[in-house]
């Protein structure tokens, strides 16, 4: 099979499986909005306060919702043995891995980006910074999927990997959060913020270059036991 064939074939399989389990697709997004509502309720619904904290709240919740979606990234393939087949395949493992991460990004990062205007509305984020929020989410969330996949691959063989996954991955998310939320805060203050967006792009590019290989290595390690 050709390089592109492996990638596209895996991607097609991922989408077929995802369409079969729609609730798995929707749960992280529902969590995102549920938690947003909780923040609004906990904050007393004061528009000024919610507006000031909106960039932080949205970005932190995107991080957490992404984390929730990560747990299932390799879990099912591990349970039914198809992960082992992928590892045994003659083609390099990073191709199907990249396809899986891409699929994960579509239903977590991209879906959250598409729904972000709704989140901005709930938290009274000024409409003029909405493009910045969408742009940061669009270039920042791929890094979350890529970095998170390393943690998911390391913990896939563990029965109760959930909290551990958060412990491993969240510190690595710190730069994405700082630049992502920071750019939106700068936009609200009317300050030039392209530098942060470029930095998000840099992190995404570096993650795209390194993560697929580390994920492949981590999957092989996890399958040893």
């Amino acid at each position: 099979m050709s390089v592109a064939g492996v990638f596209v074939g895996q991607l097609r399989r991922e989408f077929k499986l995802l369409l079969q389990s729609r609730e798995e697709l929707a749960n992280p997004l529902i969590f995102l909005f549920l938690a947003l509502t909780l923040f609004a309720l906990g904050g007393g619904g004061s528009p000024e306060m919610l507006r000031d904290f909106a960039p932080a709240i949205i970005w932190v919740l995107v991080l957490l919702a992404n984390l929730l979606a990560l747990e299932g990234l390799f879990r099912r393939d591990y349970d039914d043995g198809s992960l082992e087949m992928l590892v045994l395949m003659a083609e390099p493992l990073f191709l199907p891995v990249l396809a899986k991460i891409f699929a994960h990004w579509i239903y977590s990062g991209l879906a959250m980006t598409v729904l972000a205007p709704l989140a901005a509305l709930i938290l009274f984020l000024p409409a003029e910074v909405l493009p910045t929020l969408l742009l940061t989410l669009l270039v920042g969330t791929p890094a979350l999927s890529l970095i998170g996949a390393i943690g998911a691959a390391l913990t896939v063989s563990l029965r109760r990997g959930g909290v551990l996954l958060a412990l491993l991955v969240l510190p690595l998310y710190v730069p994405v959060l700082i630049f992502g939320a920071g750019a939106v805060v700068e936009a609200m203050a009317g300050i030039e913020n392209m530098a942060q967006i470029y930095w998000l792009l840099v992190i995404t590019m570096v993650a795209l270059t390194i993560a697929p290989f580390l994920v492949s290595a981590a999957l092989k390690i996890s399958l040893e036991q």
């Binding site: 970095i147 390393i150 390391l154 551990l164 491993l168 710190v174 730069p175 630049f179 920071g182 942060q196």
Partner: protein
């Protein structure tokens, strides 16, 4: 040629155990002497700071622990790389034994920083660039520790930790940079340890002694823990049995 064989010999736990017995003693004695001299000198004899008075003296503990906690993480990254590339058993043991030391040094650096911050900045905690990246470093140590505890099979746990340590080493500069960036934009002047451009030698010399001392401590503690780990993991081999029988 001897250098080339040294690399291979170092991979042998038995050779390491036999050689390191005296190293632990040398490093341990050096660490004790240097840390006592440096701390006494710094705490009792160095001149007081013209602005901060005596409260600045905590840097003689704070700075060495902060430096060594970062170096220990670099050591973990290097051990992880060696383990993944050459599958050296000894590298896994270093990866396992250096984590608690690094974790406690990071915690100590954060604690002494908070103690210093109270009289100087008027608060225990500031979201300053350095304190924040040290806090993230502590979380990275927690992650390494937790991952090893969670994976039952020793060999798998070691290699998984190696991957995580490598990811951490790649991330640390990015984290540091992002935190610096975040603060320089929001906080006009970052607090500096010294307002004066340079410390006089009688102030920084004890600090240098303590930094050297704490590196010796790192060597001594990690080697001592490594020796125990070697005995534990190699307990079924002939040479360990003979060693134990001889005692």
């Amino acid at each position: 040629m001897p250098l080339k064989t040294l690399w291979h010999r170092m991979g042998s736990p038995r050779w390491m155990y036999q050689m390191s017995g005296s190293w632990v003693w040398v490093l341990g004695v050096m660490a004790t002497v240097l840390l006592i001299v440096g701390s006494l000198w710094g705490l009792a004899f160095a001149p007081a700071d013209y602005q901060q008075g005596n409260s600045f003296r905590i840097i003689y503990i704070h700075v060495p622990t902060a430096i060594v906690s970062q170096s220990t993480y670099m050591l973990l990254g290097a051990a992880g790389l060696v383990l993944l590339v050459w599958r050296m058993k000894l590298a896994d043991m270093v990866l396992a034994t250096a984590v608690p030391f690094g974790m406690s040094m990071t915690a100590l650096a954060l604690f002494t920083g908070a103690v210093w911050g109270k009289p100087t900045w008027g608060t225990w905690w500031v979201w300053d660039a350095r304190t924040t990246s040290m806090l993230v470093l502590l979380f990275l140590y927690f992650g390494l520790y937790a991952l090893r505890q969670a994976i039952p099979r020793q060999e798998t746990a070691g290699r998984a930790c190696a991957v995580l340590a490598l990811v951490g080493v790649i991330n640390i500069p990015i984290i540091k940079y992002s935190v610096d960036w975040w603060l320089t934009l929001h906080q006009p002047a970052t607090f500096k340890l010294t307002e004066a451009p340079a410390m006089p030698p009688e102030m920084w010399l004890p600090l240098a002694v303590n930094v050297l001392g704490i590196y010796c401590l790192l060597g001594a503690v990690v080697l001592a823990a490594l020796r125990l780990e070697i005995l534990r993991r190699e307990r079924d081999t002939q040479w360990v049995r003979e060693l134990v029988a001889a005692r």
